[in-house]
Symmetry: C2
Subunit: 345 residues, 2 copies
Amino acid sequence: MAGKANGRKARNGGGEITMSDIARHAGVSPMTVSRALSDPPSVSEKMRRKVDAAVRQFGYLPNRIAGSLSSKRTNVVGLVVPSIRNSLYAAMVQAISDVARANGLHLMIANSGHRLEDEEALVSALLAQRVCGLVLHNTAHSRRLRELLARTDIPVVETGNLPAKPIDMAVSYSNFDAARAMTGHLGRLGYKRIGFVTLPLRDNDRSRERRRGYFAALKELGLPADPGLVMEAPGGFAEGADALVRLVQTHPDIDACFFAGDVLAVGALFECQRRGWAVPGRIAIASFDDLDLLRHTVPTVTTLRIPRQDIGRRSAELLVNRLRGASRQKVRIDVGFEIVQREST
Amino acid sequence: MAGKANGRKARNGGGEITMSDIARHAGVSPMTVSRALSDPPSVSEKMRRKVDAAVRQFGYLPNRIAGSLSSKRTNVVGLVVPSIRNSLYAAMVQAISDVARANGLHLMIANSGHRLEDEEALVSALLAQRVCGLVLHNTAHSRRLRELLARTDIPVVETGNLPAKPIDMAVSYSNFDAARAMTGHLGRLGYKRIGFVTLPLRDNDRSRERRRGYFAALKELGLPADPGLVMEAPGGFAEGADALVRLVQTHPDIDACFFAGDVLAVGALFECQRRGWAVPGRIAIASFDDLDLLRHTVPTVTTLRIPRQDIGRRSAELLVNRLRGASRQKVRIDVGFEIVQREST
DNA sequence: CTGTTAGCGCGTTCAC
DNA sequence: GTGAACGCGCTAACAG
């Protein structure tokens, strides 16, 4: 009864301190310790004090692995983003993290690198960890991932784009509408030859939707759709600069360029500074996503404000509500966007 | 034996599919399923095929919670950063994530918001989740956190600064040395009145070390230490611009300014563009941390290159080696830094 | 409000 | 190479 000498592999020098240890030293049952820790009001003042004292004395940290196995619930939310480095995702992740923390949840983050197979593998791994909810920054999943998610009953929030038919819940803006709106905006400002620089299209429905929006707006504006005015570029300052230069050289009559990625736009703007091309005099520049940077450059850059932080916050709130028992119904929230007209157009 | 009707709260509509289920359907023992999944070579070809078939048929996902409880090990690494949004941390996190993933580990990320009490609470929570290792982007911990970490025997990597006496392992550069080197560099370029703009000093040993380095260099250069040339500013473009303007107005003879944060420096540079102050003609600008942005602005900005990605990679590698059985000895790796001289100085 | 009993789903250990 | 027994540390469910 005293202490079954835990023979060999005593890595910790004696095994973990358990709830029973605390219970024994506090002179109560393990169950009372459990309750005192997870639901203090359900235990009498006297008991609680004894437990707290023993907990402090031993520096006891409950084992949530054991707790999770027993209760069949974890307090861990899984999150898959295309890239951790990108500041756009970072704003969303931060918001999710804040809401999660306020509700006693933890975050397990993985990045898919824009690869659908990786997304699938990562979600599997997160499900194996029995996360209590998932946020996926992608809506174009592999077939196997769809099947996997269909079989699970944890809440799932998709974001990054507005899917026609969400798996469970979706919080996003429409990439199509946003790109169409900005292109239309440029048209109404009087620009006639509007270039479009897109991020890689492969495995990325968001990029494809943006391009579709661009062409839709051109049609609505009665402007010709010239495939030569569209360029695909990996994200980066240099790539944006490069794309702009090539567009201007091949299409000297270009008078505006819409970049489907903020870094691309800024790179292009700097290139204009270097070459002495007036912005918007020689060429107007519009961007996608309201990086803080864009309102401080010279000139400031017209862009689309996507409420990334709201997306994160609302996604997390949806998860939390579900975990608190909200009924399971499909949700599809369009957070919208906003055109921010600045000096560059 | 067939199936103990699992009465009431069948949330999943019948309870989880377990290893026993798979074993039964594959006609083997649960132990064989376990081995086939975690160490395939230890099982005969025939058994493995039967198990694999059943696993696929049922879409079985092993419960890592149960596995972790049983084996007393998790494959989850805990990570605490001051802020998820900041791109500096993002580069490090990405590198850690990559190494972790390559080694079958997952990441649980929390952000302390630069608050030491929060760091303490978050580490406690991560330890309760029984993470197998920790990376902390901070070296100035609360006393209670130090005690907590002293009692644990999981590997801990500290980063963000080079502590004199690491808790366990440390991978970083020296903020003091870096700031001293850049200030010295400016002095040797001939600048005589060098301003210094620091990020908030509270609860941030990194900021304080940088300021110390600045003053040490001034002394070595034989320049007077003028407290009026030092300003504290929260991070941000506008704040950097503001700080510069105030320094120039109160000290018209200032000829260079060293910003201990990249965003501050860029904000100041843009302000110079707006005001038509030549950089470095009127005032030279130096920054801290080699944001991609800094090599694309006009003019490009002199800065300190900190190998953030290496820091992440090596931190993760140290953890992995420990988990693989490397002996427990203190490690203190100085990854160094590099001065990148560009057009702004 | 408190205690008792009985697992949670797996891996360790030892026998075969 | 395979299986049976046992327990990881905690909480759900019920009884008092």
